[in-house]
Symmetry: C2
Subunit: 421 residues, 2 copies
């Protein structure tokens, strides 16, 4: 079985721990004596035949990937369409794989990538090219079905809960004569997973965050303002966490930057300042707002240990599955016990994952629409457990993140120009 090479590629937004997955993939391949390549900038590099030769990298740097945020080989927002519409791309991809004797393809991403993985499985079969395709889960959005959680999510959840806790201690100290309302915008285009995780920062009603604005709950301005006012009057200040995907009663995003990304999704941003301005205009309170943006999903320094371990585990399992002859599957996380928290990796078919978004369960949101329930806490809490700090340089005071050589293998095929989309 163990013949041929393996290609790993990343897709979509990167995370604080996706490189832990790469690290596991490379180390598993090295143990199994399988030659491993990584596509530069995801599927784009695979089509361009831009493949990093990971055999040229130092083992210490490969090990350092485990604690390095971002995507070490680059990722992309480039979605392959249907087999009919993008036939040329799929055939080119198989040609590149064939040219480098790649029999195993691991695609690390979210919903879109699972769909692409599935299509690649199909085209390989149609073309009679022997290929094991494994989807590997990754997304801070935590919206993949079947898996208990998605690698990357636990770390953004921890960053968010810790940041809300810390910033609220600051606001609490100043509220008598300064800022009374603090608004923090978090990621989550269609589902409030990250917003909900912010709720872990406090347990009592007087604890921050006092109000969470979920994409799942249409924004009700009068009700929101009444809660802000009541909170400031009873607690002294009010911390609000708002999801970038907050919508009004008509289902429209409250804030739209007016541009779209390569997948046609609207680029959001700025609902935090908007909510803060509404508070100021209606209630007159002094406000501050924060939009951590990429900081939240790249904050490896405050990664969740559980998340880092799961990210590593799915990478290792993906290689195991591929070499065992599986294809069209994804290693997912199954929670086998909540107290104590236990989990294992199991296999799931991509057909049950591709293009399916897991929504935040309605029973995770309190009846008033502004907080999280005990059921939500039971789910979220284990995911942010434990710390896994990177090593720091004693002189610079900065984390020692991996720096790779990034040697590309010699191309064997003609150039393949890709138009911008």
């Amino acid at each position: 079985m163990d013949t041929g090479n393996l290609l790993y590629a990343q897709s979509g937004g990167v995370t604080a721990v996706i490189n832990a997955t790469v690290c596991a993939v490379i180390q598993a391949c090295q143990r199994r004596k399988i030659k491993v390549f990584a596509a530069r900038n995801g599927i784009i590099g695979a089509l361009r035949e831009e493949l990093f030769d990971l055999g040229k990298e130092d083992r210490a740097m490969i090990a350092a990937l485990r604690h390095t945020p971002g995507g070490a080989f680059g990722s992309c927002r480039f979605k392959l369409k249907s087999l009919e519409a993008d036939r040329a791309h799929y055939e080119r991809l198989i040609a590149v794989l064939r040219a480098h004797d790649i029999r195993y393809f691991l695609y690390n991403g979210g919903n879109d990538s699972a769909d692409t993985s599935l299509k690649i499985t199909q085209i390989a079969q149609a073309l009679g090219y022997p290929l094991q395709v494994i989807g590997v889960p990754k997304t801070v959005d935590n919206d993949l079905p079947l898996t208990d959680s998605c690698p990357g999510f636990g770390s953004v959840a921890k960053y968010t809960a810790v940041s809300v806790l810390e910033a609220s201690l600051d606001v609490a100290a100043m509220c008598e004569s300064s800022t009374k309302v603090f608004v923090m915008e978090v990621m989550g285009r269609h589902a409030g997973w990250i917003a909900a995780a912010a709720g872990l920062a406090g347990k009592r009603a007087s604890d921050p965050p006092h109000i969470i604005l979920f994409p799942e709950v249409p924004f009700d301005e009068p009700k929101f303002l009444a809660r802000v006012k009541a909170t400031v009057e009873s607690v002294g200040y009010c911390t609000v966490v708002v999801s970038e995907g907050l919508k009004n009663a008509d289902g429209k995003f409250l804030a739209e930057a007016g541009t779209t990304d390569a997948f046609g999704h609207t680029q959001l941003g700025g609902v935090g300042p908007l909510i803060a301005q509404i508070v100021k205009a209606r209630l007159g309170y002094k406000f501050h707002w924060a939009v951590p943006d990429y900081l939240q999903r790249s904050a490896r320094h405050i990664a969740s240990k559980v998340d880092a371990e799961q990210a590593y585990a799915v990478g290792k399992a993906a290689v195991d599955y591929a070499l065992a002859g599986d294809s069209g599957v994804m290693p997912i996380i199954r929670r086998t016990s909540n107290t104590p928290f236990k989990w294992k990796i199991v296999k799931a078919p991509l057909t049950k994952i591709a293009n399916i978004e897991k929504k935040l369960p309605p029973n995770f949101i309190t009846a008033d629409g502004f907080g999280i329930t005990a059921a939500a806490r039971r789910y979220f809490e284990p995911l942010i457990r434990g710390e896994d700090p990177p090593p720091y340089d004693k002189v610079s005071g900065l984390p020692k993140y991996a720096v790779l050589k990034g040697r590309l293998v010699k191309k064997k095929l003609p150039a393949y120009p890709l138009a911008d989309r």
Copy 2:
């Protein structure tokens, strides 16, 4: 000498390590058998006779203050005016101190607080009340004169450099097909200390941050855009750090929220998104922006060890000075050696500190106005050295920050209503 009680109060914006200073003050007082109070919400609580009785707090919680961000007893933005204009306030303050036999007053803040400390020294002398007044340095703005750095700054500097490094790894991974320009706004109303510290994230010209926009350098849009374009074309992406205090050639802030704080300072915010929009409008690049706001100054989880140690040291020295009979002075940090980095606490007169802002030295900014020099690195680097993580709760995954009882002492004087300002 060791008779009477000690009152500690905080003023102005809080930091990730100001509670380390409180911790030192309380522990030093306990060792010296001095009864210690903390004013609730700074000078406001001192005027209202709202004094926390720190003898009621558990020693373990006092010790936990060393790693707890925010201001444990509350701070304020409330500046006492001249002795003539605010005579009633000053006399009330002395009455409160007299009522509780307080002979030592420690005021922990920045420039404004040093000025207030000085005036309190003067009124106590004028009224014949024996009082030792010690200013204790604290400000993320790092703009106090004489001292090598200000407690609180090293930690925001470390947070900023680490965040720029991590977010840039994310952008670098995505830039081929997604975000090309990332803009991060940092604090610093009048001086670019924090913006400059961001420069520690990288050393080579191709390293992020590629452009720093300092308050000291008037914004030159064509020159800025040309640099963004050149960076995207050579590096693939461009990370921009912009100080909230960025001004145009006329000396006006680029972004003003239109409100002022209690000291009459204009409330800033939003220059990050503004710069990002300029890039989009002129160059068409896809952008993201982040405004960490309070997150940067409260991020105790990534505090600098040097900063935490210095914050503790100034608190301890302040008690020593007060009990030794000093008044009208401040413990400051003197750097005695750069390699290896060594420092000690020395005494400085408040007359040479009050209302004087230390500007970023011109030789810290590169000739092009967009980066930091080797001299700047030599100054900044030791300040972000070392980590001092808080303990974490094994179940919640959150830092274990101090929770105090906050018992107020019984009032002895009539109420003193304070009008809002």
